[in-house]
Symmetry: C2
Subunit: 117 residues, 2 copies
Amino acid sequence: MMMADDDLLALRLRALAHPARLAIVRALAAADRCQCGEIVRGLTLAQSTVSQHLKVLKEAGLITGTIEGPRSCYCLDRETLAVLAGQVGGLFAALEDGQRNPAPRADALVSSPSTPI
Amino acid sequence: MMMADDDLLALRLRALAHPARLAIVRALAAADRCQCGEIVRGLTLAQSTVSQHLKVLKEAGLITGTIEGPRSCYCLDRETLAVLAGQVGGLFAALEDGQRNPAPRADALVSSPSTPI
DNA sequence: TGCCTCCATCGTCCATCGACGATAAACGAT
DNA sequence: ATCGTTTATCGTCGATGGACGATGGAGGCA
């Protein structure tokens, strides 16, 4: 498959980047228990739509799903979410080797009066 | 505008959820200096495309842009990114009041033999 | 066996995204 | 005043996303 790091990161961020999927993740975080039907009843969305959102989250590795008899149970993959949070945090802390938090290059900002866009 | 919290969070996540925009953010994190032209030369994308990506990041509040004479300079909004990272982290730590990291509800998982989907 | 519930998948429709080239606007330099 | 450079915006096009209803399969129960 050859998926670049940033492609995977982008995939996971995109999976989170929808209000309905955020609601699903929050529900799973609060309950740690799953039950697809409960999620559907909590969301005012069609069952098929919720199922698709769950699929997106599952394919991104953010949740796991198990079949339990007649119903499906979903759980957060807290470890993947923790890694994701760390990656987002690493975006602005940056420069993992060498100095961290480099001082702003003042010389880049003094040449002419600058106005906010 | 009445933007719900999750809508704003989703907007910011969606802004990050693209390899090109991740590359832009990384470049800004590494250099702390901006120059639209440099970003364009680093990306193998058309200048208009990069400009659109910068616009998305700016509208999400993840970067700031200033006009400096004939050119534009972009910088990371590290504070917003930090808040974002915290929000992602809060998704799996959840339950901000009451106990944190609740024990898994074992009873939800023992009713029948479960198989991974 | 037959029904009912639960859920995943399919097909469709409309909206948005991502890419590009072309154009316009702002500015410095000649 | 004009030209070249730099960047933002517009218009377009194909691809993808998100919503839905309909369908189908798996499993529990009468």
